[in-house]
Symmetry: C2
Subunit: 201 residues, 2 copies
């Protein structure tokens, strides 16, 4: 797949087919892409925890659902007045209800200071999601699990000094691919100085 | 360009041609790619500050160079015994000495809690770097500027509650494209539980 087609059509795919498994070869393709991203000093701090075990996924799903009860409430007011936000909220609830049924959950983990090591984690996460898209697999970058991070770390035997940065469900999407709605570049770009639409002359 | 070729060959390009400018169209292509990445609740918090003004770039380069004096020291011991680390250190010094001469510096900025909003910043940064690669432009994801972040924010008029996440120099590379050295997937992947090479049976 062409890079720009992948970039344009990689969007959160929150409805996944629980009955269609993801091959080990496809997981390898995604992880290989993930590991190619740059990391600070080429330190490669991320460990990619791939969870397929039904009971572990189920428990992670329960904890995720509890987090969603807290986080998704924040979007209810906006959803009441904004059809796009309402659709996102509905699909977010679908994911919260079915997270544990995703064929694969990928959890990027790393030691290091939060807010610092992140720059060595999320570029690889994006590579992973783009690679998944190119082979027909849907993903969503979610961080709601952090409300129950300690319980998830205990469940998976993750050491206390290791952070978990996301839970990424992977599977064949039930929805259709398409471009997500984003603000135009001109609305999110400044030139030379904060707030300036044009360069300093 | 094929997605997987872009992923494999996007590496830090620290030697850039200061004499060859980057077109506005190419900047737009990179920023369009950057804005396509998912963000928490589709909040799209990043403002992409594009700096071309020579004096501003020069001052950022000076501050970056001062940060490099501190950060790059950490790699000297490793470089003494490891040729790959020595090459990286040498090219990192080149970048530190020439940051202010890059045709374009892109600084992703966002409000929000550090360590939380990062997951809405760096996926877009990776998109930007992949898009640059596909159109022949080199980039490096650097965070060394954070040692002098307050001064850079003052220089560019960035409000106190806005963070700067990276300084990304963009230009035509003087070096050659190629695959960076990364650890194999098997060495950075766990199955079902931390530390396990194989799934729970």
């Amino acid at each position: 797949m062409d890079l720009f087609e992948a970039i344009r059509s990689t969007r959160s795919m929150r409805r996944l087919d629980p009955a269609r498994d993801v091959s080990e070869g496809d997981v390898e393709t995604m992880l290989d892409a993930a590991t190619r991203a740059a990391t600070g000093g080429n330190s490669q701090p991320v460990r990619w925890l791939v969870v397929r075990h039904p009971e572990l996924k189920g428990r992670i799903g329960e904890l995720y659902r509890q987090g969603a009860e807290v986080v998704l409430k924040r979007y209810e007011d906006e959803a009441a007045n904004n059809p796009a936000a309402a659709r996102m909220l509905k699909s977010s609830w679908h994911l919260a209800d079915h997270m544990g049924e995703a064929p694969v959950l990928v959890i990027p983990c790393a030691r290091g200071e939060r807010g610092r090591v992140d720059s060595s984690v999320f570029p690889g996460v994006q590579n992973l999601m783009l690679a998944a898209r190119a082979i027909g697999l849907g993903t969503t970058l979610t961080t709601i699990h952090r409300l129950h991070e300690d319980e998830i770390k205990e469940l998976l035997g993750i050491p206390a000094d290791v952070h978990t940065f996301a839970v990424i469900p992977v599977g064949y999407p039930l929805g259709r691919w398409g471009e997500a709605r984003r603000r135009p570049v001109s609305q999110v770009t400044y030139r030379d100085r904060w707030g300036q639409a044009s360069p300093v002359s």
